[in-house]
Amino acid sequence: MGTDGFSIAEARFLAPDVKLFRIVAPRIARKQQPGQFVIVRIHEHGERIPLTVAESNPTDGTITLIVQGIGKTTKLLNRFDAGDIIPDVVGPLGRPSDIRLFGTVVVIGGGVGTAIAYPTAKALRGAGNHVITVLGARTKDLLVLENEARAISDEVFVTTDDGSYGEKGLVTDKLKALIAGERKIDLVLAIGPIPMMRAVAETTRPHGIKTLVSLNPIMVDGTGMCGGCRVQVAGRSQFACVDGPEFDAHEVDFDGLAKRNAMYREAERQALERFVSDPKPDLDLIRHRCKLEDVTPR
């Protein structure tokens, strides 16, 4: 543990660029509750990135992470395979989701946000709620965890922007229809890209439906030590890593969050470009812990 790193028990792609990892981390698996995350560093020169835990199994001591390869670190992580070692995984961090009987809950997952919403949705169902899941993706190929969502929901709807699967449209179109329908909705949980979460907040606000979102600001330590993850909620500064990551959607300053998340855009672009054009230095850093052979960028 700790100094020896964390070995990957299982790794497989769920969609292009979206990979599932089951990682041996017994201490975290024992403590993990829905809504919590870990911070991961993948080699000696690596940055620390937060990843939500999609599932944990205290019996076999593993946690499941679902990683979308967007930036350099996540793209590099997605080259790891079963048997490889991740040097640093710390958690579980953040406050767990508030799990109790609300009544009818609409869970909205946008893109890999589905992976973050999944454990909370499952727990909400377990607490006796009627769970309606709405999964949104740009296109059919990018949809993840549909079967898992079906297994833990009373109703499932899928929307795609291009209509390649499910209903053509946005998750908020579906949400509007649900709000207009028969059933009274007691809680909405929305997790996905910032514009989606903001749109959901604006959809439910006029109806006064309690709405929660899980925020993804840039983090360093994840323990309240740096303040880099601060967001404005109800006019007050909150540290998402310890006070969140879930907050009342109607009180979050999404605009401020989006701006702060863009803070390192230039550096991120540069790092990715450098990695894609020459991945060797990074692959060398992970080689001794990984069976990596192939050095062509994917």
């Binding site: 940055e47 620390r48 040097p87 323990t223 701006k259 450098r274």
Partner: protein
């Protein structure tokens, strides 16, 4: 060799100057500023010691390092013995020699201080510790036979490390749990390379590993495991909480969430722990300071470390904004001197009242107000009062807030029977460092509030002695 000089002649030797990198050069790199005394300078400096019958320097040192004795050993040329002498009271001499506020401690009380300039005790301490390390002759102390008792230490800053070092010698099994991926606390994530090379901290940690201390990184006590679990199913007989005062304080003025506004903790963690100054060779980014205007708010060591780091990252203008005057600045005198030499601009008696942004959410300026000193407050320092109508705008791209830290509640909030006092700091007996919870001790900044390396180290050692006694006698 005994000192051949008369006391009078000793006072005639000027305090030796620490060789250092030239300001123009060092402001462009992260290598250590002070280069260390050579043998000749060290001997000259040691000759200045008057060998007082009642050395005041020892009283001035929070842990009572036997200054006179170790300086005599330097003069005798027995540097290893000198280092061993210091280690009797201070197990991290290479670190304290570099970062102690000597002017307020040993050198402040040195009898030579007023008229001739204090003996360079910190310089000499560093000299012998570096000699010991560079010759690879650190004498590891003997370890007592195993007692079968297990101690968990939470936090790997100077308090935790020093306690671990003492407890392992007593034959206990010691595990240090650290939330971050590297061991050392503020010594690793806070104090920059140019003041305390990380290699020195790593070497100390290596020594402890060789003595048998186990380190577990990536464990956040309160999250990954609780204190009650450590004492229960994990089978530890005692727990020392040494989690520091790591929570950043902000000013609470408008605009503090703009891009470009950092806490000193974040800025320094990115630079030191994550090596952002080597981006893109290292992945963690930091705002590109090259050619920009950067300011730090505050006047302590943290403020100096942050702004001098920004300067090394290429800042065009680097300011310290401090609401009192230079006399009240809590930073070590040497850091302020070095900062000035490097071209840091001091805006004393100034205070930001608002940060102004552009339409993309980026900082563009600070609105500052000038201050004057009024009557003394409860801390005895003259209280700064704003001068009405003196507000002005200072164009800035980055501002770093270094106005103090407070306690991190993760351990306290998950350990219900652990008593805290105002500010969430842990209540502990000043002598035994016992907390309100049986088997749990507290040491360092998490008990005292943000203080110094040597005080944290001293507290860690006191706690170790009390823990050892508790484990041997079973009496709480």
């Amino acid at each position: 060799m005994a000192n051949p000089l008369t006391p009078k002649d000793r006072t005639k030797i000027p305090r030796q100057k620490m060789p250092e990198q030239e300001p123009e050069h060092r402001r462009q790199n992260f290598a250590e500023v002070n280069l260390g005394l050579n043998f000749h300078l060290a001997t000259q400096e040691a000759m200045r010691c008057l060998e007082c019958a009642h050395p005041k320097c020892v009283d001035g040192c929070p842990v009572g390092v036997k200054v006179k004795d170790f300086i005599a050993l330097v003069l005798a040329g027995d540097y290893l013995a000198a280092a061993a002498k210091i280690r009797e009271d201070d197990i991290l001499p290479a670190i304290t020699g570099r970062v102690c506020p000597q002017e307020d401690q040993c050198e402040g009380t040195c009898i030579m201080n007023k008229k001739f300039g204090a003996v360079g005790i910190g310089y000499l301490e560093r000299f012998v510790a570096d000699y010991e390390r560079e010759t690879g002759q650190i004498g590891l102390p003997p370890i007592a036979p195993p007692t079968g008792k297990k101690v968990a230490i939470v936090g790997s800053g100077p308090a935790g490390l020093s306690a671990a070092g003492d407890l392992i010698q007593k034959g206990h099994q010691v595990t240090v749990f650290e939330a971050l991926h590297e061991i050392g606390g503020v010594l690793i994530y806070g104090i920059p390379e140019f003041r305390l090379p990380k290699e020195i901290v790593r070497q100390e940690v290596e020594n402890m590993k060789r003595m048998g201390v186990e380190f577990q990184t990536n464990i956040v006590v309160g999250k990954t495991v609780t204190v009650d679990e450590l004492l229960g199913e994990e089978g530890y007989h005692a727990v020392l909480v040494a989690t520091g005062a790591g929570l950043p304080q902000f000013l609470g003025v408008p605009g503090e969430n703009l891009c470009g506004v950092y806490s000193a903790n974040e800025f320094l963690t990115r630079v030191n722990l994550m090596k952002a100054y080597k981006f893109p060779e290292y992945d963690e980014p930091i705002y590109d300071c090259r050619g920009r205007n950067v300011a730090v708010v505050g006047g302590g060591n943290t403020a100096m470390d942050a702004i001098r780091s920004a300067l090394r990252l290429g800042a065009k203008n680097a300011y310290v904004i401090y609401r009192r005057s230079e006399a009240e600045m809590p930073a070590r005198a040497e850091e302020v001197k070095h900062a000035r030499e490097e071209g840091i601009q001091f805006l004393l008696l100034n205070n930001p009242v608002e940060f102004l942004g552009n339409d993309k959410g980026w900082l563009r300026a600070a609105r500052c107000i000038k201050m004057e000193l009024g009557l003394a407050d409860e801390s005895g320092r003259r209280r700064p009062v704003p001068i009405r109508g003196s507000e002005y705008e200072l164009p800035l791209d980055v501002v770093i807030i270094a106005v103090g830290t407070s306690s991190n509640p993760l351990v306290q909030s998950t350990t219900p029977d652990l008593k805290t006092r105002k500010g969430g700091y842990i209540e502990a007996d000043p002598e035994t460092l016992k907390t309100s919870k049986v088997g749990v001790f507290g040491a360092g900044d998490i008990v005292t509030g943000a203080a110094t390396v040597i005080l944290a180290m001293g507290a860690g050692r006191k706690a170790a002695a009390a823990i050892d006694e508790y484990l041997r006698t079973g009496v709480w």
